[in-house]
Symmetry: C2
Subunit: 150 residues, 2 copies
DNA sequence: ACTAAACCTATTGAAATACTATGATTAATG
DNA sequence: CATTAATCATAGTATTTCAATAGGTTTAGT
């Protein structure tokens, strides 16, 4: 489970957008970049993946920025990960075209695909709404300051 | 779940050794390399990982080769994977040292570590004995030829 | 001595990763 | 209507990782 920075930053970014756009305001790349200490230019690329997957919507021009494109409850952790890297949860990725079909099938079908299907199932059970809630709650506790929306 | 060839070939190799050494004979690298269509030299490196993890034992010299170092029931799929690549099942591998501790902890502790701890649990429940049995059984069915040991 | 195996270590080529750089498009604002 | 500040698109690059290859040493049986 070595996670790429793209996936990592993407998850951070979408939670950041979700929790800072509850008031309706769009969240900009420079804002996220500063808050989360991520290169702005790299972040742009990452957000474009989330955007083309239909998870966030970008608004060009001054006063532009990103908002979440759907109901927070309808975006799952699986959606987010898959938008950023199709291989993380995917049904195994097998390199060989060895001669021993029995072996390949054994390892692929019985082992890896069971593991990846659990991952998918778990990731599907977590929504952005939950992540956002938990983030806000922990932030309040951590800083002893209530966050006000609107 | 992109699996490296090293992990893949290592799993194949240890099942191959297990199922061809039930009669007590050591299994050689050239044998496995031919049977499983893997480069002999690359396989040597992979087997040395399995060997230094104590899962297989190599015998030098003519008539040498590899045998499984323990009872097949005492080697788990987890042991095998970890011997080949410590990162596959490991508790998350997080790149950032971002400023937002709350975010990092949220994503790391609540998401990735739950996923990887499931993977570990599952991998620990599968033994080499099971894999070996299943491989032999499927091979017999596939080729309509019973495999005799001894 | 010869052979055939494990074992050890260095190097290479290719691919993936993690960015940086440049610029075009779009829209609000003075 | 020019300026500004944002998204969006694409090219390039430096570093790291991966997948082998290569060359050799050690060990043991015949």
């Amino acid at each position: 489970m070595k996670i790429s920075t793209k996936v990592e930053f993407g998850i951070i970014a979408i939670i950041d957008i979700a929790s800072h756009s509850l008031n309706g305001n769009a969240v900009t790349t420079p804002e996220i970049a500063k808050r989360q200490n991520i290169s702005k230019k790299y972040l742009e690329q990452i957000l474009s993946s989330l955007s083309s997957a239909g998870l966030v919507r970008g608004q060009k021009g001054s006063n532009g920025g990103y908002v979440i494109a759907k109901d927070l409850k309808e975006i799952t952790f699986k959606d987010i990960i898959n938008a950023l890297d199709a291989n993380v949860l995917s049904n195994v990725y097998f390199n060989t075209q060895g001669d021993d079909d029995v072996m390949i099938r054994l390892i692929d079908n019985s082992l890896w695909s069971k593991m990846s299907s659990y991952l998918q199932q778990y990731a599907e059970s977590i929504t952005l709404a939950q992540l956002c809630d938990e983030y806000i709650k922990n932030n309040e506790i951590e800083h002893n300051i209530p966050m006000y929306y609107i």
